[in-house]
């Protein structure tokens, strides 16, 4: 490989020690993010998306968490850095924004205080210059009259405005990687689009890599160039966004795509559902993790876990039968 990717996650395992014993929330996850691209991490609640993100940021309680594998960022394995070295990276080179803007800002400090704090931690700027910079960042995220807003408290702002503040804060030190953990889930639909636009625009401007965690395939279609689909702590499919939408390989991905309601579909027909529920992490199926819910599962699937294979197109899929399914159903079985 000539060009190292910006972020390279390899065989990452995140193991929590709980009262019932160790629980592997992320189990051998591998993917990468390049500069300037947006990679979507998709999956149901509890599939390990957020834990993966927080492992990269090393935000988990490390007294009860064990990591295996490697998270290489700019040639450094983040898992080997000391707490202090990691702290200097957080908010500076790698930033994160969270799902719920209503609770992600500290209610007792003004937003100016909170944005300049990040700037002053990582850059040797005076308070005055940090405020100028903060106003500039707020302006970039499209907040009207930022020079007034900066003295307000979070409770004076709407959810969309707060998420813009979070973005301004996260990007104030021009990070090379932004991890967005469901940044639009808690927002109104119209605001969602605006926030996604802000992230996309700033990505271009700063040439950042963006890791977009979401369960919303609409968001993926909108902003991502590559998609990683996770199920129960593992990557089960990775593909560029077109292939994923028009030619998904894994039965789970097919199911996810089918469950999107279509405007031109028959209104009286029931929506497709992926049958069954996600098993809990302390009761992981022995073979393929999706097998109990999979319509194509056979003896092999129930007994032996498939590896993440590289397909002919260079994408990845974790399924014993993806080729057979493809031959039987054709490429366009899921899309109309």
């Amino acid at each position: 490989m000539v060009n190292e990717p910006l972020l390279n996650v390899k065989e990452l395992k995140t193991i929590f020690s709980t009262e019932k014993g160790p629980v592997t929330a992320v189990d051998g996850v591998t993917f990468h993010v390049d500069s300037g691209e947006t990679v979507g991490i998709v999956g149901e609640s509890g599939c390990g998306k957020s834990v993966t993100a927080e492992s990269i940021m090393r935000l988990l309680n490390e007294q009860t968490t064990k990591y295996e594998g490697a998270i290489t960022y700019n040639g450094k394995n983040l898992l080997h850095l000391s707490k202090e070295q990691m702290r200097k990276i957080r908010g500076n080179e790698i930033s994160m924004i969270f799902q719920d803007p209503m609770t992600s800002l500290n209610p007792v400090y003004t937003i100016g205080n909170q944005i300049t704090e990040t700037i002053m931690i990582h850059q040797k700027l005076s308070k005055e210059k940090a405020y100028v910079k903060a106003i500039e960042m707020l302006e970039l995220t499209g907040i009207p009259s930022p020079e007034k807003r900066i003295y307000e408290y979070p409770h004076n702002l709407s959810g969309g405005m707060r998420q813009r503040v979070m973005i301004a804060m996260a990007l104030s030190c021009h990070p090379s990687l932004l991890i967005a953990d469901e940044p639009t889930t808690a927002l109104d639909v119209t605001i969602q689009a605006q926030i996604l636009d802000v992230i996309s625009d700033l990505k271009k401007e700063l040439n950042m890599g963006v890791m977009m965690i979401t369960h919303d395939l609409g968001v993926v279609a909108e902003v991502c160039s590559r998609v990683v689909v996770m199920y129960l702590g593992q990557v089960i499919e990775e593909a560029d966004v077109d292939t994923l939408f028009f030619n998904p390989k894994h039965p789970y991905t097919k199911g996810l795509l089918k469950s999107i309601p279509k405007l031109d579909g028959d209104r009286n027909s029931k929506l497709h559902v992926v049958e069954g529920t996600v098993p809990s992490l302390d009761n992981i199926p022995e073979g393929c993790r999706f097998a109990p819910r999979c319509a194509y599962a056979d003896e092999l699937c129930l007994n032996r876990a498939p590896e993440l294979e590289t397909t002919d197109e260079g994408n990845k899929v974790r399924c014993w039968h993806y080729k057979r399914i493809f031959e039987e159903e054709g490429a366009n079985a899921t899309t109309s």
Partner: protein
């Protein structure tokens, strides 16, 4: 905020009326007679009767109450029958030791309890945490008079480091004043410290699991600043409530502690006045204590605004 403060101050009046009625009738319904106490067991019934008349004690209770309370409303708390001095002067004479005791006790408990609570929260579930909380449990459980006696025994009798009991006013030197006050302050502050430590711990635990603490970590804020800037200020609101409430109980606790350590404060004054049936002093001091309790809670309510912008009043 001004309007709010005035409203709260006006609400003092009904509180004081209720306290006045309760105290007045309780003390007058209790058996015993100040005239008889003053004249001693050998006095003739005629003398006692004359004195009662002179003091106005032969009037119907409601008339006595009206006479007394109308004085209170214009700031006249009446005269001490026993000491023959205005009640306010008696109170001011004795308030020094109590105030000093309460402030020291509160100060000691804050200095000990808040750091301990924070450490316990950060090391949740570890031996350190459990150790601190057992200690706090002990603090709540041991009555302050017992703790006072034990401290007296250890530091006063066995080690001889500190005087056993008594009082030296602040005007005679800070050091000698502190020497006399330190043990009573610790024995009075222990319960407070335990309550505050437990509140600090649980409040910090709540705050440390919030999203904005995660944000602070994600920004690269240093661990110490996360605790002291981002978490403590938010955790301080419930702590402040406990501080206000416990400051009131300090006054009640002072009665016991002052008796144990023989401090000439308000607590002792109340106890002595009850024995002497010095009605005006009992009523007056309890009214002042009740008023100061209400005032302290008003101050606490106003402080909320300083800590948390969400409860700040509009400046318009």
């Amino acid at each position: 905020m001004k309007a709010y403060t005035i409203k709260r101050l006006l609400s003092l009046l009904p509180v004081l009326l209720v306290v006045a009625v309760v105290v007045f009738f309780l003390i007058h319904l209790a058996p015993g007679d100040p005239a008889a106490v003053m004249l001693g067991p050998d006095a003739s019934p005629q003398d006692v009767e004359n004195l009662r008349e002179q003091l106005g004690l032969n009037l119907p209770l409601y008339q006595q109450f009206i006479a007394w309370f109308s004085g209170v409303l214009v700031g006249d708390l009446g005269m001490s029958i026993y000491m023959n001095q205005p009640v306010l002067d008696v109170f001011l004479d004795r308030v020094g030791p109590t105030l000093s005791l309460a402030i020291l006790a509160q100060g000691i408990s804050i200095i000990i309890a808040i750091p301990f609570g924070i450490i316990a929260a950060r090391k949740r579930g570890t031996l350190t945490d459990q150790g601190f909380m057992v200690f706090a449990m002990l603090g709540v459980s041991v009555p302050s008079f017992l703790l006072g006696l034990l401290l007296m025994l250890l530091f006063g009798v066995y080690l001889g480091w500190l005087p056993i009991a008594g009082y030296s006013p602040l005007s005679e030197g800070v050091w000698s004043h502190l020497q006399y006050m330190i043990l009573p302050a610790i024995s009075l502050g222990a319960i407070q410290a335990a309550l505050i430590a437990r509140m600090t711990r649980s409040s910090m635990l709540d705050i440390l699991s919030t999203n904005y603490i995660k944000t602070a970590h994600a920004k690269g804020v240093k661990e110490r600043l996360v605790i002291y800037k981002h978490a403590l200020r938010n955790a301080f609101i419930p702590i402040l409530t406990v501080l206000g409430q416990t400051f009131g109980t300090l006054v009640a606790g002072a009665v016991v502690t002052e008796t144990v350590f023989n401090l000439p404060g308000i607590g002792q004054l109340i106890v002595q006045s009850i024995v002497r049936r010095d009605y005006a002093v009992i009523q007056g001091t309890i009214l002042i204590i009740a008023a100061s309790y209400v005032l302290i809670n008003l101050i606490v309510d106003l402080l909320y605004g300083a800590v948390d912008p969400r409860v700040r009043f509009n400046k318009k």
